[in-house]
C-alpha cells in the first residue's frame, strides 16, 4: 500500500497504547527496571520508556520465546500419545516502541524460520504480531545500523513507524494494511500531517564499515590468525546470542515425569562448547576462537550467501551485553581492513 503520514501527540499516543491493550492485544513495550531498559508484556502506559537508546534484549521473544512448548506427550501401556498444542490460540501481540533495528530483524527471522521447513509455530505467532516502530533520535558508540543498510528512521518491518518531532508530537508513517487497520480503528487520535520532515530529527549514525568488504574478506579469512588473537578474551557465554535480535539457534529439551511431559524449544548459542559436541566426543569447534569465528561468519558470510540478508541489524546489543568487551563493531572494522590472501 502507499504509505500515509499522520501526526499523533503524546497524550494521544498513550491513548493509542491503552486502546490496543483494551482491544485484547498483549503489548510488548520497553520499561526501565532493575537499572536497565527492557521489554515487558503489558506494562502501564505511564511505565513505558521513550528516552532510552537501546533495550537490553531484543523483541525476538515475541515470536521466538526463550522457551516454547512444542507438544506434550503421555505414555501408557499402549504406547506414547503426542498431544499437539493449539497454536491458533496464541495471543495477538503488539510490539510497541521498537527501534528500526528491531523491526527490521523480523524479516531475517521470517527467512530463517521459512527457509526450508515452514515453522508453523513461529508463523502462527508472527501472523498475530503488529510492530509499532519508533525512529531513533539518539544513538551511542555501539550503534551501527547505517553500516548494515539500515538507518535510525528505517521503515522496514514496522506496520506504523513513529518519529518524535521537535515540537513534541510524533510523525506516524502508516506503512502496511495492518498499520492502516490500527490507525483507522483509532482515527480520532491522529491529525493530518503537514509535510513534517523526519530526517532532521533522526540520530546521526556514521557509517563505520563496508559490509560487502567484510563478507569478501571472510570468504578468504577462515584460517586467518585474526580469530585466535581477537577471541582469546571471549569466555564463551551466550550473552551475545541471547540479546541478538537475529540469533535463532535453539536446543530441544524434554521434560517429563513418569513418562508424561512436554518437549521444549530453548534458546541456544554457538558460543557454547556443547553446541557442536558430537556423541563420539569429537567437537568440530573445539576451541573458543572457532566458535567466535562461526558467530561472525554466520552473520556476515553464510547468511548473506545463502539467505541473502546480513545477520546483523547493527543494534549493538551484543557489544553492550558482553562481560569481556568483545565489541562486534571493533571486530567488523578490523575485518574490513584485514589483509587476506585470495
Amino acid at each position: 500500500m502507499t504509505p500515509e503520514k499522520k501526526i499523533i501527540d503524546r497524550v494521544a499516543l498513550d491513548k493509542l497504547y491503552e486502546s490496543l491493550k483494551a482491544a485484547g492485544n498483549k503489548m510488548f513495550a520497553p520499561v526501565f527496571r532493575n537499572e536497565q531498559t527492557d521489554f515487558e508484556y503489558n506494562p502501564n502506559a505511564s511505565e513505558i520508556s521513550y528516552n532510552h537508546i537501546q533495550t537490553t534484549q531484543s523483541v525476538k521473544n515475541t515470536v521466538f520465546p526463550k522457551i516454547e512448548n512444542l507438544f506434550r506427550f503421555e505414555s501408557s501401556q499402549k504406547g506414547v500419545d503426542l498431544l499437539n498444542i493449539d497454536f491458533t490460540k496464541v495471543p495477538r501481540v503488539v510490539v510497541w516502541n521498537a527501534h528500526p533495528c528491531d523491526a527490521a530483524a523480523f524479516s531475517a527471522l521470517d527467512s530463517v524460520f521459512n527457509w526450508d521447513f515452514k515453522d508453523e509455530i513461529y508463523n502462527s505467532r508472527r501472523e498475530k504480531l503488529a510492530v509499532i516502530g519508533m525512529s531513533c533520535i539518539k544513538a551511542d558508540e555501539n550503534c551501527f545500523c547505517t553500516s548494515v543498510d539500515l538507518n535510525p528512521g528505517s521503515v522496514k518491518g514496522s506496520d506504523i513507524l513513529l518519529t518524535p518531532l521537535a515540537n513534541g508530537t510524533y510523525l506516524a508513517e502508516i506503512l502496511t494494511e495492518q498499520g492502516k487497520a490500527i490507525a483507522d480503528a483509532n482515527a480520532s487520535l491522529f491529525t493530518a500531517s503537514n509535510g513534517e520532515n523526519k530526517e532532521e530529527v533522526l540520530a546521526k549514525v556514521e557509517k563505520q564499515f563496508d559490509h560487502s568488504k567484510v563478507t569478501e574478506n571472510l570468504a578468504n579469512g577462515f584460517e586467518n590468525p585474526f580469530w585466535h588473537e581477537f577471541s582469546l578474551r571471549c569466555i564463551g557465554c551466550g550473552a551475545c546470542a541471547y540479546v541478538c535480535p537475529i540469533c535463532t539457534c535453539f536446543d530441544i529439551q524434554d521434560e517429563s515425569k513418569a513418562g508424561n511431559g512436554r518437549r521444549l524449544r530453548c534458546w541456544d548459542s554457538c558460543g557454547f562448547g556443547l553446541f557442536t559436541l558430537h556423541t563420539s566426543g569429537h567437537n568440530p569447534r573445539e576451541i573458543q576462537s572457532q566458535r567466535w569465528r562461526q558467530r561472525v561468519m554466520h552473520k556476515f558470510s553464510y547468511q548473506p550467501d545463502r539467505n541473502e540478508f546480513i545477520g546483523c541489524v547493527g543494534c549493538g546489543r551484543c557489544s553492550r551485553a558482553c562481560p569481556v568487551d568483545m565489541n562486534i563493531l571493533e571486530q567488523l572494522v578490523a575485518l574490513e581492513k584485514l589483509e587476506v590472501a585470495k
Binding site: 582469546l232 557465554c237 529439551q253 562481560p323 569481556v324
Partner: protein, 267 residues
C-alpha cells in the same frame, strides 16, 4: 604502571614466561583483558579502578594453557583464585607468575606462589562492604520474603551462563546442568529451571568462591547472583573455618570429612 610494564617486558624477554595476561584499554572507556606475547607490546598494560574482571578465569582455558608458563596481573581476587586453582590441581604452580597488585595499585614482588600465600594470609578477607550490606538486609528478611526476592530476580534469567563463564572456579568440562543421562536439573530457562541452576551453582561453589563478584558483573540482565555465592562463602567460613583462596593445600569445605565437623545444620 611503569613497573608493571617493565616487569612484564623482562619476563617475556628472558622467556621466563610465554604469555602475559593483564588489562588494557578496551572500547568505549572500558578496561578489558589483554594477552601479550611480544615484549614490545607490554606498553598496552594498564591497571586502574576499571580493572575488575577476574583474569584467573583464563588460566584454565585450553588455548591459554597451550602457552605454558604464564604471568598474570593479579589483584587480590586473582591471587586467591590462583591459589584455589592450584589447590584443586587445575593449574601447575610452576607455570604461573603472579604480577601482584597491592591495594594501593602498586606492583608487588612475588617470586613464588608461596609468597602469595603469605601475602593473602595478612589481609582480612570477607565480602566487599557494599555487597555485605545488601546481604545483611536479605538475611534480616523472613524466609518467605527472601524466597520472593530471589524468585523475582531469577525468573528473568535466560540461561546465557555468563555467570558460569566468568567464574574461574566454574571450570567443569561438563557442567551438571548439561548432563542429561539422567537430567539432574531442569535445563530450560523457566522459573523452576532457573532456581535449580543457580542453587546448584551456589552449592558447587561453597567454600570455593573468592567473592570477586564477577558472576554478578557478567550478568547481562543485572541479576545480583554474586550475592548467592558470597553468602555461601560466609556460611562456609562460619561452619568450617574455611576461606577459599588462602592456601595451595586447602581442603574443600564440602568434600572433606573431618571428625570434628559441625553437624548442627543437619535437620
Amino acid at each position: 604502571m611503569d613497573n608493571l610494564r617493565q616487569k612484564a617486558k623482562e619476563l617475556l624477554e628472558s622467556k621466563t614466561v610465554n604469555l602475559v595476561i593483564g588489562y588494557e584499554n578496551g572500547t568505549n572507556g572500558k578496561a578489558r583483558a589483554v594477552f601479550i606475547t611480544d615484549p614490545e607490546k607490554t606498553g598496552k598494560l594498564i591497571y586502574d579502578e576499571r580493572c575488575k574482571q577476574n583474569l584467573a578465569v583464563y588460566l584454565n582455558k585450553h588455548e591459554v594453557k597451550h602457552y605454558g608458563k604464564i604471568a598474570i596481573v593479579a589483584p587480590l581476587m586473582v591471587m586467591r583464585s590462583i591459589l584455589v586453582l592450584v589447590s584443586e590441581c587445575q593449574v601447575k604452580k610452576e607455570n604461573i607468575v603472579a604480577l601482584g597488585i597491592g591495594e594501593d595499585g602498586s606492583l608487588l614482588d612475588f617470586p613464588s606462589l608461596e609468597v602469595v600465600e603469605k601475602y593473602v594470609a595478612k589481609i582480612p578477607l570477607g565480602n566487599p562492604q557494599s555487597d555485605q550490606e545488601i546481604l545483611d538486609k536479605l538475611n534480616a528478611m523472613t524466609m518467605e520474603q527472601r524466597r520472593a526476592f530471589w524468585q523475582n530476580e531469577l525468573e528473568r534469567c535466560f540461561k546465557c551462563y555468563a555467570c558460569r563463564a566468568a567464574c574461574p572456579m566454574c571450570y567443569c568440562l561438563r557442567c551438571t546442568v548439561e548432563c542429561n543421562q539422567p537430567q539432574w536439573i531442569s535445563a530450560p530457562a523457566h522459573p523452576l529451571g532457573n532456581l535449580e541452576w543457580h542453587m546448584l551453582r551456589t552449592m558447587h561453589l561453597t567454600g570455593r568462591c573468592v567473592s570477586c563478584g564477577d558472576c554478578g558483573r557478567a550478568c547481562p540482565l543485572n541479576i545480583p547472583i554474586h550475592l548467592l555465592t558470597m553468602q555461601q562463602a560466609e556460611e562456609a567460613f562460619h561452619m568450617f573455618g574455611v576461606r577459599a583462596g588462602t592456601s595451595m593445600k586447602a581442603e574443600s569445605a564440602l568434600s572433606t570429612y573431618k571428625p570434628d565437623d559441625k553437624e548442627n545444620f543437619i535437620l
